[in-house]
Each structure stands twice: as C-alpha cells, then as structure tokens.
C-alpha cells in the first residue's frame, strides 16, 4: 500500500523527458529547466495538458527536455506558433521558451503583438545578452561597446530594454528573475502561471562560454545586495546588504536615499504597486541610460487584469452563435437565393 503511494507521487523528474540534456556545463539553462519542472510538479499540472513552444537558440532546446507536448519551432516565431495552439486549444497550458535574440530581434514583431493581444501564454525569455548557439555575436540586449565575434572593435548598437518594450506593448504581466536565485524563479514562474493573459518573464541567464559573468554583479555575494532590488507588492523599495538604501520618487524622478544617513520612515519611500504602470515604466528603466546607478529590479514589475484573447474569442463565438439562427451546413451551401434548371 505504501509503496504504491510512493510510486504515484509525482516528482519533478516526471516532467523531464528521456533525452540527455546537452547544454554546456555550467549553463544557467539547467537551473531554469529544473525550476520549471519543479513548479509544474508543485502545481500538480498534468503533463498531457501542457505544451512548450520554443524558437531557435540554446534556450529553445528546452522543449526536448520536457516530458510534455512541445514544438521546437523556428527562429523568432514561438509566440506565433503558440498563439495558434492557444487559439485552437484554450484549455491547455502553453509556455513559450525563447531567448533574447529569438524574442527581441528576429521575433520582435510577434513579441509586441503577442503581448498586446494578451493571449494566455507564459513567455519565458532567457536573456544571456549574447547569441550563443552561433558562437557569440552581439544580441539586441548586449551592452554597447561589447566585443564579440561579430564586433571585434566593439558593438555600436544600443541595447533594447525588454521590460520597457513589454510595457509599451500593453503587456499585462511583466516580471524579471535570475537563474541563480532558485527560490525567486520558483515564485515568479508560479505567478506567471496564475496570470490570465500573456505573462512575460525575463530571466537573466549566464552563458558560461560566450558571455560569462554578464550578471555577476547581480549574483555574487558582496555585489548583488547593492545591485539588485527585490520587488514586493505593497512593500517599500529597499535594498543593500544591510537594507541601508531606500528609493523615493520625486514626481517622476527616483532617488536613492542612504537610510543610515537619512532615516526617513519606510512609508515615505516608494511603495511598490504592481498595478501602477507609470511607476512600472520607471522601474523598467533602472540600469539603463539615465538610471545607471539604480539596482536591477527583480520580481513582478507590473500586473493588471484584462480579458484574455482566448476569453474574448470564445465569448464572441458564443454571442454570435446565440444571436444568429442556427443553420445547417447545407443551408450555408445553398445560400439564400437558388434557381433550378429542369433540363
């Protein structure tokens, strides 16, 4: 009796396929894969009702490692493919696995339109700020002056801001997490799963081979405390190894306050409100030009409730079906006006 119970107990391993995982040793992708398997297990999801759709790039191999349905599609298009699947089968859990190049460069159009449509996809974008599968070229999120295989004298391109772009595309769930913080990833993926409509999660992901230590300042002890800020809804913006920094908002201008020197009450600090889009936009700008001194925000930046595409589609179909008299297909074929020949 007891042994059957143990056998029936689902473990994260049940969400892993029998395929050997072939990412480079030390790649951040391993941690993300493990965490998603764990989350699905903890949420008690049935494998057959889940589909993972990916594009092209290291991260997109993800699909082959899941014991769920899935399509490893083509470069930049996973959101488009996933959209069709979700339209056909709204009841499925459809996750999109994409990278910074896949999602923001070649797939940019699908990204903005997927978000504005608010279709129920969980879009997990692995951001390693490099094209890794093609052996190290600048990506749309690479910093300026970066030296890579395709930019031996330094890149002249300015990086795109994924979170700002998502907000500008009317996304209803925008979050960021990081491969080295397992607990945080777990929490954010669960929030994404629970969200109705498109959930966009940027995951800072280290590429050991072509862009190692790109996120070191957000992951290493002694650095990460002062360079990241963990957002929690309704809580003041405080960070630092001893929580010594707070952020206040002067109209639209954020300022870092050293709370040791200037112990202002916490309620006077910027209180994170996931529903406030304007503030979310300012947060999304942190670390980008003009906001270089601010910590990188991790957590749910913005979330709002809005009917999802599939909800509206089903609603529309029901409305029309109720309003219009039911007709048979034969009636549709004959149309309203026919004529007959006798010979």
């Amino acid at each position: 009796m007891e042994s059957t119970q143990i056998k029936n107990q689902v473990s994260p391993k049940d969400y892993a396929s029998n395929q050997e995982v072939k990412w480079c040793p030390g790649c951040g992708d391993y941690a993300i894969l493990a965490q998603i398997q764990k989350v699905l297990c903890e949420l008690g999801k049935k494998q057959e009702n889940i589909a993972f759709i990916s594009g092209i790039g290291c991260s997109s191999r993800f699909v082959y490692y899941m014991n769920t349905y899935g399509i490893h599609s083509i470069h930049g298009r996973p959101i488009a493919v996933a959209t069709g699947l979700k339209i056909a089968r709204p009841e499925l859990d459809v996750w999109v696995i994409t990278g910074d190049g896949d999602c923001l460069s070649i797939g940019g159009n699908h990204f903005i339109h997927g978000l504005r449509r608010n279709i129920g996809l969980k879009v997990i974008m692995f951001n390693n700020r490099i094209y890794a599968l093609t052996k190290g070229q600048v990506s749309p999120t690479s910093e300026q002056n970066k030296i890579t295989y395709s930019t031996p004298y330094g890149s002249i391109d300015y990086p795109i801001n994924p979170l700002s772009l998502a907000l500008g595309s009317e996304a209803t769930f925008v979050a960021r997490t990081i491969d080295r913080d397992l607990k945080h990833m777990n929490e954010i993926f669960k929030n994404a799963d629970a969200h109705k409509g498109t959930a966009f999660v940027e995951v800072y992901q280290n590429c050991k081979i072509f862009n190692d230590e790109a996120f070191q300042r957000y992951t290493e002890k002694g650095q990460k405390e002062n360079n990241t800020i963990y957002l929690q809804n309704g809580k003041p913006l405080i960070f630092g190894e001893n929580n010594q920094f707070g952020i206040i908002l002067n109209n639209t201008k954020p300022e870092i306050i050293n709370l040791n020197d200037n112990p202002i009450p916490h309620e006077n600090l910027w209180i994170h409100d996931t529903k406030d889009k304007t503030k979310a936009f300012i947060l999304s700008q942190f670390t980008f030009p003009g906001y270089e001194n601010f910590p990188s925000p991790l957590g749910v930046i913005y979330q709002t409730e809005k009917a999802s595409y599939e909800e509206l589609l089903i609603q529309k179909m029901n409305e029309v079906s109720q309003k219009r008299k039911p007709v048979s297909i034969n009636k549709l074929l004959s149309g309203t006006k026919t004529f007959s020949y006798d010979e």
């Binding site: 082959y64 349905y69 339109h113 297909i329 549709l332 007959s340």
Partner: protein
C-alpha cells in the same frame, strides 16, 4: 408604340466601364447573378485599379467589369464585347479597342463634358464628332435622368448622382429583356436600414428599366436563350467565397474545428472576410500581425488538432516559406491557399497571373516536397479547398492551393452539393484517450503517414521540431543515414498521394490525336473553348486540365503519349511546361502570356492552328 428589333444571340459579351467610384463592380456582379437567375451560363472578368479611388475621370481610374453570358457553351468572359457601357470619356478611351465592329455603345452623355474629355485626352467629343460611326451609339444622359427620377428623394444631389449605376443596370436589364428581381432583392437587403438610400436605388433601377421601354431612340433588344446545364438547383458563387465554403464544409465533414489564420492581402482577403462570419460553425479566424505569424499560428493550431488553414498571395507566400518548411518537417496538416496575382514583388496586386507554380513546387530550402492543387473555375475552388483539407489531414502534410485573382473574383452559377454527397475525410487524428502501442512521434502507417497525436492525450506525449530526426524514435538525429532515410520518406509519402487521387481524364473526351492542350488553373475556359472549336473543325485536339499538379495523376503520362504534340498554355513565362518536360521527357510547347489579363480565345486558337499545320 415603338417597334423594337429583337436580336437573337447564343451568347453576348458586355462590358461595364466607369470611374472606380461609379459602382461598376457592383452592377457587374448583380448583372452576373441576374444572368444566372435567368438561366444563362456566364463568366466574368472584373478589372480595377489597385488604388481605392484613383483620380476621377482619368484613364488610370477606370474600373471595368466584363461578362459573357448565354448558352451552356459559355466558358470564358469573351474576347471582344458586343455591348459596351461607359460612364465617362476615360472609360470609353480605355475600352473601345475591344468592342466588336458594329457593337453597341451605351454612353453616359453627362460623363463627356469638357473636363472629362480633357482628362481622358480627347480633343473633341467622340459622341458627337462621328468617330464612333462604325458602332451603334446610344448616348443617354444617365446622370441627368437619374437625378430627375429622384427629384422627390430627400437625398443630396451627390447621393442621387451615385444612383446612376442602378439606372444603368435597370436599362441593361431591359436591353436583355430581363426582370431585375434579384437586384430589387439585393437593394432591399443591402439598404434595409437606410430606407432613403434603398428607395432611391430602387427608383433609379426602375427608371432605367422604363427608359428602355419608352425612349424613342432605343430600338433594339437582345434575346439570349437559356443554357442547358442539366437538371438541378444552382446558386451564384464567387471563387473566394467557394473557397471559404469548401473549408467550412471540410471542417464539418472531418469533424475538426477550422482555424483560419491570415494577414490581409489582395486578392485573398475575402476568404478571411467570409470565414469570419461563420463563427457559429465553430470557425475561428485569426488576423495575425504578419504573414509569417499567420502561417506559424496555423501550425500551432494544427498541432492542437484543428483543421488549420492560411491564405495569402505571392508576396505573402514568400514570407510563409520558412514556416511552410517547418510544417513539412513536423509533418503537420496545414492548407496554404495562394490566390496568385501578377509578380514579382508587389507586382500587379489586382491582376491575374499563374506565376507562382514553380515557387510552390520548389521554393523552399532543402528537399521539401509539398502537394500542389489548383482549382479551374470559381466553383471548383470549393472542391479543391475540400480536397486540400482531405489530403493534408490524411497524409499529414501541408498542401498548397494555387488559385488566382481571376478565379477569386469570378462568379458563376454553381450546382452546389449537399454535405452527404461529399466524400468522407479519413484523417489521422487520434482521440484524446486513444492508445497506440509503442507510440512515438514519427511512427507511420503503410502510406508512411504518421499519427496526428494531439495535446490532452496522456498516451502520446511527444515533442516535435524542425531538426532532423531518427525515423525509429523521432528523436533529434544528425546521423547521415537518418537524414537520407527521412528525406526519402518525406518524398515517398507525397508520391503516395498519387495512389489516392482520381485518374486524369480529358475535358473534351478526345483521348488521342494531334495536339494535347495541358492547362491548369483559371485558363480552363479558354483552353476548353479552343479545344471544342477545333474538334468541331475536325481536328483531334484533346484538353487535359490538371487540378492535381503535385503529385501528378498516375496516368498522365499514358494520356500524353497518345498525342503527337503537347501545348501548354499558361499565364506565366513557362512553368508547368518545365514540370511536364522534366517528368515525362516530352517536348512540350509553351504558349505564354503575362499581361495581367486572360488568354484570348482567338490568340490561342491561332497558335494551336499553326501547330496543327
């Protein structure tokens, strides 16, 4: 009482031409349907500028609609017209060259004022200067008469003037001794919520009709006998509409929900328009952000178990190439409808051409075989759409349908089928609880077709992708032998389709002889007319019209062998001819035209005659 000369004709070619805002397309279609309801067979050829409203009164802004109607032998819109209706000077300028000698001109005299003459490039008024003396000219102040007839209407002068097309249509109905019943119904239903516009249009229509009856200057009337099309019930149908109906019907027959993903593009957009009104048949339509997304979404929907279809034209087809190749690799059913137009690039958006055939056949990286079908008439779009869905879902493959703008916008009487008369669709989808022993994603049947396993089924959980795989496990594989075998399987699977499609027959039942005309797509009518003409003259000329182009019907070679010569007329610079030469090593002779207009009966006839010498 005036004496009217009754002209008896087996068929008549009429052309309506006017400004692109004059409503010529509308009255053209209404007259087409009127022909159908009066039991004439008809074929039409609309021509319009790609601009929505090109500058008024100019030659560039002329929109026209040509129609041939008559007995059962009518298969084309005709070469030269018997009757030309022109709303202004520019329309006359553009259209006069194809009017038959002694043909009838009905001209709206009000469209020939100094401004219109100047815009059209006339130095004097052709209605008055005697230059039209070889024709029968009826100069009618259509605009004036329309406004006069509507003097009690509350509409503005401009709105009244817009009813002049209905006056014209009413008059034309009288000219051909037809009752305008279907047009009255059309006006009533179209303007049911705008009674003032409805009444004005009805009044203008009847005023035009009565003008024919009473005018002292109009002394001819045509009599065209009904066509013998066999017993049955018919309706009027346009190609894009037939295509949409074919898809819905296939969806019902296969018991698969239809998901149509598309991006607006001329001349395919109307398929989306029609399907978006069929939500109550469970049809889901998705207007994507671009052509690529439309095709990708169709693939996603297909993976989910829907009957997935996308529609486009040449430029969109180019964008869908990448994802079409993914569908080939995934072996998922998707129907891709390409309503062809003139190319390359943006080309001629509103004009007809058949120049995407080689692209459909070969326009993909890698060895990537895709079945190609082509409808031959507007109503055949229904059957080809149905057939494409059937092949896609029973062979687990994307299928390309090549229609064109002539078929899309062409209308004809159609002896529509009932659902129960159509063949079954035996698709490969597994139900959500169906168990297959030792299932893996690329497990195949005797035709090399894999199962259509869909999410929700706990027994068939699998991943598929664009990478090459091992035939035995479906897992990613880069082994040389695996790629060789998978490439061969994909090819063989498509070849196997030839076993299930009908054998080819000749259209005119001439199965051996001097010349075999092989056509495909919208050239059906003109090729068949030429073949029949030559048969009447005693020549043994056969006509094969291919609806299945890839793979070819398995007996095509046997037919070809029985003729001394093969001629392949196409609206391109020679595409089918390459396929036929390649597959059958036959010295087929091309006949080509790329002017954005149909092949003329006379030009093809002359060409074939020279080859018969």
């Amino acid at each position: 009482m005036k004496t009217i000369e009754k002209i008896q004709k087996k068929s008549v070619v009429i052309k309506f031409a006017g400004d692109s805002g004059d409503g010529m397309q509308l009255i053209g279609y209404q007259f087409t349907y009127n022909s159908a309801y009066n039991k004439n067979k008809s074929l039409n050829f609309p021509e319009f500028p790609s601009e929505i409203r090109a500058p008024r009164g100019t030659v560039a802004g002329v929109s026209s609609f040509q129609l041939q109607f008559g007995d059962e032998n009518v298969l084309t819109p005709g070469d030269e017209y018997d009757v030309l209706v022109v709303m202004n000077a520019a329309a006359l300028k553009v259209s006069l060259k194809n009017l038959k000698e002694n043909g009838v001109i009905i001209a709206n005299e009000n469209g020939f004022d100094l401004k219109n003459l100047k815009l059209a490039g006339y130095e004097s008024n052709p209605l008055e200067d005697g230059s039209l003396e070889n024709f029968q000219l009826f100069s009618v102040p259509i605009e004036e008469l329309t406004i006069e007839a509507l003097k009690d209407s509350p509409l503005s002068k401009q709105d009244k003037e817009r009813c002049k097309n209905m006056f014209t249509l009413g008059f034309v109905c009288w000219l051909f001794n037809r009752t305008p019943d279907n047009i009255v119904e059309f006006i009533n239903s179209t303007f049911s919520k705008k009674p003032e516009i409805r009444d004005a249009n009805l009044k203008a229509l009847m005023a035009g009709y009565n003008y024919g009856e009473t005018s002292e200057s109009i002394l001819i009337q045509y009599e065209v006998p009904p066509a013998k099309l066999g017993k049955g019930t018919f309706r009027g149908i346009m190609g894009n509409h037939a295509m949409a109906l074919g898809l819905v019907t296939a969806s019902q027959k296969a018991n698969l929900p239809l998901v149509y993903c598309s991006y607006p593009i001329t001349p395919a957009t109307d398929i989306l328009k029609y399907l978006s009104t069929y939500l109550n048949f469970g049809v889901k339509t998705f207007q994507a952000e671009d052509e690529i997304a439309a095709m990708c979404a169709a693939i996603g929907a297909s993976y989910g178990g829907a009957l997935a279809v996308t529609g486009t034209s040449g430029p969109g087809m180019a964008l869908k190439t990448e994802s079409l190749n993914l569908a080939v690799m995934l072996e998922l059913p998707v129907v891709l409808i390409n309503v062809q137009r003139g190319g390359p690039s943006t080309g001629l958006p509103t004009k007809m051409e058949q120049s995407d055939l080689l692209f459909a056949m070969y326009g993909r990286p890698g060895d990537s075989p895709v079945p190609v079908l082509a409808p031959s008439t507007p109503s055949d779009c229904f059957y080809i759409a149905f057939e494409a869905c059937k092949i896609a879902t029973s062979f687990m493959t994307p299928v390309i349908v090549l229609s064109d703008s002539y078929l899309a916008n062409g209308a004809e009487g159609w002896k529509f089928p009932k659902l129960e008369e159509l063949p079954e669709i035996k698709h490969k989808q597994l139900s959500s609880s169906q168990k297959i022993d030792n299932y893996y994603s690329y497990l195949r049947d005797e035709n090399m077709v894999r199962w259509w396993a869909i999410p929700g089924n706990p027994f068939t959980i699998h991943r598929i992708g664009g990478l090459e795989k091992n035939p035995e496990t479906g897992n990613v594989s880069y082994f040389p032998e695996d790629h060789q075998r998978m490439t061969e399987i994909r090819k063989k699977k498509i070849q196997n389709i030839a076993k299930q499609i009908p054998l080819q027959t000749t259209e005119n039942n001439i199965n051996e002889g001097d010349v075999l005309l092989i056509g495909w797509g919208s050239t059906y009518g003109v090729i068949e007319t030429v073949a029949r003409d030559l048969n009447e003259k005693g020549y043994k000329v056969g006509h094969v019209h291919l609806r299945y182009i890839h793979p070819f019907p398995s007996n095509l070679q046997d037919i070809i062998k029985k003729f001394r010569k093969v001629i392949i007329p196409e609206l391109n610079t020679g595409q089918l001819v390459k396929l036929i030469r390649d597959q059958f090593l036959v010295d087929a002779i091309p006949f080509n035209k790329v002017q954005g207009i149909p092949i003329k009966h006379q030009e093809l006839l002359n060409f074939v005659l020279t080859q018969l010498k």
